[in-house]
């Protein structure tokens, strides 16, 4: 197909079109401010997230320690028994996980299979809880349950932290 003069001239002008153009104002300051705001947001959310995990950890340790150290009084109706403690631990963990998942909702995860990993930890927690039904006052099992719950929270936090923050 023969190119018309217009097509030919247009192509020549396109070929000589400059690839660069100077903006009239300094754009970096605005960009830098926005990046700084981003960084603060990430730091604060990381700080908040760490505090949620820390608070959960402190609460769990306090509950398990109290349970472990409390004087043995099997007949007292007021005494927290093993099953009640497991239930309390599980309820508290569920609330904290919900809060974390809501916080990270819509945020991209670093790994694709984190939900699968979470489910595997869930299965481990369920197995420990089943063992605790048989032996409700077993402190070693309680500590294992506490540990699994902490791992779940750490997993959710870790996979949602930006890559550069993990370096």
């Amino acid at each position: 197909m023969v190119m018309s003069k217009f097509e030919h001239d247009l192509q020549q002008q396109l070929d000589s079109l400059s690839q660069e153009k100077q903006p009239q104002r300094d754009l970096w300051k605005g960009i830098e401010l926005s990046l700084e705001a981003d960084r603060k947001e990430v730091t604060e959310s990381g700080f908040h997230g760490k505090h949620v995990a820390l608070a959960a950890s402190v609460a769990l340790v306090a509950m398990v320690s109290w349970f472990t150290l409390k004087p043995f009084s099997p007949d007292s109706q007021d005494t927290l028994n093993g099953q009640t403690l497991v239930q309390a631990l599980s309820n508290q963990h569920e609330q904290q996980m919900d809060a974390l998942l809501v916080k990270f909702e819509g945020q991209p995860a670093v790994t694709q299979n984190w939900k699968q990993q979470l489910q595997e930890l869930d299965s481990a927690a369920n197995a420990i809880k089943a063992a605790l039904e048989e032996d409700p006052d077993n402190t070693a099992l309680l500590k294992m349950l506490q540990n699994v719950y902490q791992q779940q929270m750490m997993l959710v936090e870790r996979v949602h932290a930006p890559k550069w923050q993990q370096i």
Binding site: K5, F6, L10, E20, P23, R25, D38, P162, Q165, I167
Partner: protein, 191 residues
């Protein structure tokens, strides 16, 4: 002599690429100074594309800022498989199109306002003194975006249709329209 010059050019190119790669890697790790240097290296290219797409200096400056803010967040996605400038142009085109949608009311601009006057307005001058750039920015919005993406950036009509949420036939028609308008403005008449 020519071979020696070519070697110097090749070496310089290799050095620039290595420097750019180091800057990208540092910026990916959160080094803001490295990112600032990358910005300085590429801001004129990004702004040129933003200006041609938006047809407006102020909007292009805002869009350029948005590109570099988004780019900072997306930088970890760059895996080095393609040239950085190619990837940067793709990010710029997508972010600018999205920015224009948000800023000006996409539907209003695309379907109502743009056809009202632009087509009937004469460009600044029909002499050859007016460069191609000024004709481009005076094109109606859809025609301009399609023209810039196809003729300058080398996107296929299928890709443009996807990016601008229009039919492939519409993209081709808008490209034809852009050329017809420029042909008229440049004083070529019927050939």
């Amino acid at each position: 002599m020519i071979d020696a010059q070519a070697s110097v050019v090749d070496a310089s190119e290799t050095f620039s690429q290595a420097k750019e790669k180091a800057l990208i890697q540092a910026a990916q790790k959160g080094d803001k100074h490295a990112y600032h240097t990358l910005y300085e290296l590429h801001v004129k290219r990004v702004y040129a594309l933003c200006y041609r797409l938006t047809g407006d200096r102020a909007l292009a400056e805002d869009a350029t800022q948005e590109v570099f803010i988004q780019l900072w967040r997306k930088l970890t996605n760059f895996d080095g498989q393609s040239r950085f400038t190619t990837w940067l142009h793709s990010v710029t085109a997508n972010v600018t199109v999205s920015y224009m949608r948000k800023q000006r009311g996409w539907f209003q601009r695309m379907f109502n306002i743009e056809d009202s006057a632009a087509e009937y307005e004469q460009a600044e001058s029909s002499s050859a003194e007016v460069d191609l750039e000024s004709y481009i920015v005076q094109l109606p919005e859809r025609a301009r975006m399609v023209f810039v993406l196809h003729a300058i950036e080398g996107y296929r009509h299928e890709e443009i249709a996807d990016m601008l949420n229009m039919a492939v036939g519409t993209s081709k028609a808008q490209f034809h329209r852009a050329k017809q308008l420029m042909k008229e403005w440049m004083g070529y008449g019927d050939e």
